[in-house]
Amino acid sequence: MLKQIEGSRAVAEAVALCRPEVICAYPITPQTHIVEALSEMVKAGELANCEFINVESEFAALSVAIGASAAGARSYTATASQGILFMAEAVYNAAGLGLPIVMTIGNRAIGAPINIWNDQSDSMALRDAGWIQLYAETNQEAADLHIQAFRLAEELSCPVMVCMDGFILTHAYERVDIPTQAQVDAYLPNFEPVQVLDCADPVSIGAMVGPDAFFEVRYLQHHKQLRALELVPQLAEEFRRQFGRDSGGLVKRYRCDDAETIVVALGSLNGTIKDVVDEMRGQGYRIGSLAICSFRPFPLTEVRAALGHAKRVVVLEKCLAIGIGGIVSSGVRKALSGIVLKGYTVIAGLGGRAILRKSLRALFENAERDDLEQLTFLDLKWDIVNRELARMREQRRSGPIAENILRELGTVAARIG
């Protein structure tokens, strides 16, 4: 049913349709509206057979989900930024134990400095923990991906995080088609656990594994993700047949087939990119874009197939691997190994800095001319940077960088006296 609905609310309704049994969440911007909506549904009795637990930290939130999942209940939680780091130990634990928990990440920057706006550094920080990571481009896709996520997680016994850009998606009101319960039930059967706490058939879950077997356990996790490379497209295809639309899958190509320049990105940014691509195509540029939806497992084959014939690839990232540069571009580079083409990494939008169409237009035009550095920081204010660098050179005790800059911008008052 079509609804004009806030992204968070759409996700909440989609999750509710998946018949979760235990939901636990700790509030953190920008995920709050999701869990608020779910708590209301549970309290009002709309979402039946579901326990909503108000936990005292994100670490507790994922821990509750771990316990509930191990006991055979379909479990869900959501977090962002500081929260996913606070539960980092549990993120690895859930993957290591193979518990099919689904978690929404409302992508947000990580402090310090504390910042509530969107970038993708939070989910990127836990990219190697063993969770499947799916990035939603639109609110529709965000809603749909949760339904696919439960199915994927339970088939593989592997936890899945669905990433959606904070504020841009979570707080935007858009038209979303919310499926019916019958549709979801047809797609998502009851949870049948691979291992479960059961008094009638006791097992010990979470043994200590030494050098003699740890390696194998770890490999088997990797193997699950390799299987996911097949399963993700299958489930997306099934979804398309049952729900009548494309959502999910490993990658989505847009006007790539004859493109000389292809732009790669994750998440909502792809919307803006496609607008610019259309504009430039209208002016004769042979440009296309590739949205990577499944970042883990990383679809090396599909990325290579999509990009291999291009002259140049521009990877636009809302995250920064401090000290080296791009994160997504590392994966892309690996996918293209052996193929000679020009690859450009562009870091953009950190901490919620707006990514403007005109900035992208200029960027892509530069790319077309190969007038681009290997690593570019889009719309970075170099004057502020340089002034701060000068300040730091002048005296040892130059003070906190963030405050210095904010004072310059006039955001904080000058010192008294």
Binding site: E21, V22, C24, N49, C50, E51, I53, N54, V55, E56, S57, F59, A60, A61, S63, V64, A65, I66, G67, A68, S69, A70, A71, G72, A73, S75, E89, A90, N93, L97, L197, D198, C199, D201, P202, V203, S204, I205, G206, A207, M208, V209, G210, D212, A213
Partner: protein, 329 residues
Amino acid sequence: MLLQPIKFYQTGTFTIGNRLLAEGQRSVQANMRRTNSLNSGHRACQGCGEALGARYAIDAAMQASGNRVMAVNATGCLEVFSTPYPETSWQIPWMHSLFGNAAAVAAGVAAAMRVKGRRDVKVIAQGGDGGTMDIGFGCLSGMFERNDDVLYICYDNEAYMNTGVQRSSATPPLARTATTPAVGKQPGNVFGTGKNLPLIAMAHQIPYVATASVANLRDLETKVARAMGIGGARYIHIHVPCPLGWGSDPADTIKVARMAVESGLFPLFEAEHGEETGRYRLRRRVPVEEYLRLQKRFAHLFGFPPDARGIAAIQAIADRNIQRFGLLG
């Protein structure tokens, strides 16, 4: 306390069993068909108090619940010595997640049971003093505050034993640990630190809080049984000597635990919703010195000259406990 001492039967309720008592009056441990929830083959040290305490508590819980107990364990000695791949000593459904989240994971298991309509299945969370009072404190407090239907059992051996006897917030004053070594001007752990988690649990006003000791099995079993019959958040704090960490003879584990109780240093009491409801009155009070002398972690108090002030300060703690909890008379 509800436990009725039985007279005239040679050993009353002091021994584990007694051939002259009706089976129903003996302890769970005396039963030939006890569940042995923590079975042989585990890798605990000789004379480990925690292994004993865990079997006592879980067997009692199994008895009380008709063998429907699930346990969630924090990282620590109990978890490590009981489940080294490929062996597990647990006969019950059991899981281990992380060091600090046993209470939260157990809350999740309990929620799952509730959702599935399995109110007959009882959930127990277990952890050592480190995992409960320090790193697990946040999750524990959250579980208490929500009144989750979980019985949390803390096995207190007064230090981080599994990692090599480092100090925790349960380490008593003057005790030697690897991070409070017996050197320098103030050897051992300092005074004025430490937490009383049973009292903190009481401050949360949860339905049931109790302390227990491996030296008093009947009392421990009664308390576990009582806790199993109550819903909501419950907490039992069991004192378990660690021969390795405390430097005591493995054969003395129960004796040391007994001395801790009978000196007043480890008072046995119960509380419901924040109010004390019962206590164990000392049977044969001993001075703290008798307790301290059995353990090498206090050996530096008995040098030449002995640390009379230190010992007196510990005695003062015991005296205060006796006063505060009404352990005499």
